[in-house]
């Protein structure tokens, strides 16, 4: 062990470069893990964290809320199926919004903003509302809204007012919900009437506004899956999904996951390859020294132990440095995407890379075990 540390101290550049390579790889893996999760949460957080167990789209909507339109006959067909407990309308649009909070100092930056309109119910917790709030209260009247909490700094904080452009429709934020963005934009949950008014404000030519989606809760004794089956059987033009399926099947989500998995696979392969190659070459270079050590009585297990200690130390340092580099980045926002330090992902990758890295060094360990002390008298080493 002492020898292993001494060698590392004497060859700082060599080992330093390896630590740097591993640290950069770990940093990239963790950063992209955050990016993937942040992107998906930004895309569909508002679906994942709303309280309706079943969402009914029109098939034409292709599982995009804004793209779906439920004509009166489709709405009636969905409402009429067996097992329906509660039903509410959901309308969603993307609008140009101007935060008007005084603390912004008159800044006039506008934002693409999603407005999700739902039937408020008695306490503002109607179907389609956020499952929980991180601050404030649910809307109790028109022109009040719960906003996605990640956009507080942009003027979407508690008590702030938002003006929908063009027009004079003003919405006051009365509550905040975590991870509640849709389409990576600031998102407002308001009454259905507020949504209708926002549409009329932005497009005076709009006529005959229809709900995009129906939010449904099953009646007692019916599961969400049964309700989904019942609705889908009612009309080939209806597309009912459980909340989890609606989240997973939103266009783009699976493509994002697949793309990142491919990237992670390649990065995950590079780390053990680099580690394995490095220690294999170093073992070749040390062949004569290792043979001599074996000849003077050093057991193989000690030499292999030293090698594995070096591998673990290098990997540990690289992973720790990579995580340290990642920490400040993980506190930032990237465009509309809120990044965060993913502790479980960091632990998962640290363990995986450590196991793969140590595994890749077993090739070098095998070489060490193959050393015959008698070679010291002939001048041949493991590398010959």
């Amino acid at each position: 062990m002492y020898l292993a540390l001494k060698e590392m101290a004497r060859s700082k550049v060599r080992f330093g470069l390896l630590v740097a390579a591993i640290a950069l790889l770990v940093f990239l893996i963790l950063f992209q893990q955050s990016l993937q999760n942040g992107l998906i949460t930004g895309f569909i957080g508002a679906i994942r964290n709303q309280n309706s167990p079943v969402l009914v789209y029109s098939v034409d909507g292709q599982r995009v809320i804004q793209g779906s339109v439920l004509t009166p006959d489709l709405e009636a067909a969905a409402r009429g199926v067996d097992g329906v407990g509660e039903v509410g309308r959901i309308g969603q649009g993307t609008f140009t919004a101007l935060p008007t909070a005084e603390r912004l100092g008159g800044a006039s930056e506008t934002f693409d903003t999603s407005v999700i309109g739902y039937d408020l119910g008695e306490d503002g917790r109607g179907l389609g509302s956020p499952t929980s709030l991180s601050a404030g209260r649910y809307p109790a009247a028109d022109n009040e809204a719960v906003a996605s909490s990640s956009d507080q700094a942009s003027g979407f904080d508690l008590g702030d007012t938002i003006r929908i452009l063009p027009g004079d429709e003003v919405i006051t934020i009365v509550g905040l919900a975590d991870d509640a963005q849709l389409n990576v934009t600031p998102t407002l949950f308001a009454s259905y009437t507020t949504y209708e008014a926002a549409v009329a404000s932005a497009n005076p030519d709009a006529r005959g506004l229809l709900p995009n989606v129906l939010a449904m809760a099953p009646a007692e004794g019916t599961t969400p899956e049964q309700l989904v089956a019942n609705v889908n059987a009612a009309s080939p033009d209806l597309d009912a999904l459980t909340r989890a399926d609606a989240e997973a099947n939103t266009p783009g989500v699976s493509q994002v996951r697949q793309s990142f998995q491919l990237i992670f696979l390649l990065y995950g392969l590079v780390v053990p390859c680099v580690t394995g190659l490095f220690f294999l070459i170093v073992t070749f270079q040390k062949a004569n020294t290792l043979t001599l050590l074996r000849a003077v009585g050093a057991p193989s297990s000690r030499l292999v132990g030293s090698l594995l200690a070096q591998v673990a130390l290098i990997l540990g340092s690289g992973i720790a440095l990579g995580a340290l580099l990642y920490y400040p980045i993980s506190q930032q926002r990237l465009g509309g995407i809120q990044l965060r330090f993913e502790t479980s992902a960091a632990i998962f990758w640290a363990v995986l890379l450590l196991v793969l890295g140590v595994g890749s060094a077993l090739l070098a360990a095998r070489r060490v075990l193959a050393i015959d002390p008698i070679e010291a008298t002939t001048g041949a080493g493991v590398g010959r």
Binding site: R14, L17, L18, A20, A21, L24, L25, F27, L28, F31, Q32, S58, V59, D60, G61, Q62, G67, V69, T71, L74, T94, F95, T96, T110, D112, L165, P166, N183, V184, V199, A202, N203, D205, A206, R207, G208, L209, L210, D237, P251, S254, Q255, Q258, S259, L262, I263, L266, V270, C273, V274, G276, L277, F278, I281, Q285, L334, G335, G336, I337, G379
Partner: protein
Amino acid sequence: MKLALREMRRRPSRFVTATVILSLIAALLMLLGGLLDGLIRSSTGALRAQQAQAIVYSSTSQASLVRSRVDPDVRQAIEQIDGVTAVGGLGSAQLGARVPGNGPRDLADVALFGYELAPDGVPDPPADGQAYADEILKADGVTEGMTIQLGPARTPVEIVGFVKDTAYNGQGSLWASAATWRSVLLANRPDAQLADGVFQALIVQGDADIAGRIDEATGGATESLTVTEAVNAIPGVKEQQSTFNQIIGVTIVIALVVIALFFALLTVERSGMYGVLKALGARSGTLFGGVVVQAVVVTAIASVLAAALMVLLDALIPPGSIPLQITPVRIVLSAVLLLVAAIAGCLFSLRRVLRVDPASAIGTTV
């Protein structure tokens, strides 16, 4: 140089692992670049194809087609500006399309454009009720002469031909007359309908610097962008470009470090041999040149392997899943970046090569 190449021929196994690692890194670079190209291409084609000096949106629309509405009086004001040669309306509607032969729930995502001035590669507007389709819709079973049905109202549109590279927001585009677009919107998205004469955007041809003058003439009612600005204003485009480019940059740094590490180790191993060669009159420059040649050869082989892997991957990925676009330009660019990183990485070995003392050759075993 000869010596370096001969060593690679005689002891290829020494370079195999480094080649494998660099192939993985090269594949990563090409994959990241290919994903970026695929995402951008599938999001921006419809705007990139516009033959315009300015694309005019309403000022509060954030350059979003669906939120923009330009009234006829604004259009009239723009047509009267000196230097404007042609003005055409543009509108869009994103809908599901029922394709004959596909299942009742198996719809194609389409973006229908109503246009007056033909974009690059798109013929003049067809007769009402007809449309040109982007060729990516062929993957959904769309063929020439077929009539597809758009939206919940099942508005029929006949496909009269195909056009290339005009996708929008990841959807295959359809190019139809303004009247067809307006009728489809009215039947399927009454909430998004626009009055006669109102368009979502205007395509303006004329002087190169016309964009600024348009916004002046309309008194700030419009936001006029060049085609490049309009493409970059599509939500996510700039963010995707900057994020992917940063990741590609760090991956190149990793390649540089890996190459530096590998050749630093090889140089340490060869110190004795370098001492003998120097004692025989070889210059440091020649020896370092050999290291660079080996790095370039390893990188070139790795790039070729990675390119083959990516072309294979591109062929295997089913249309509509991962938005990967592998182009010769991206492959060459990735290879060049990797070569630069390889040469830079070799510089770490330069100091060690320079430090080798010819006198060390005396009494050493090579």
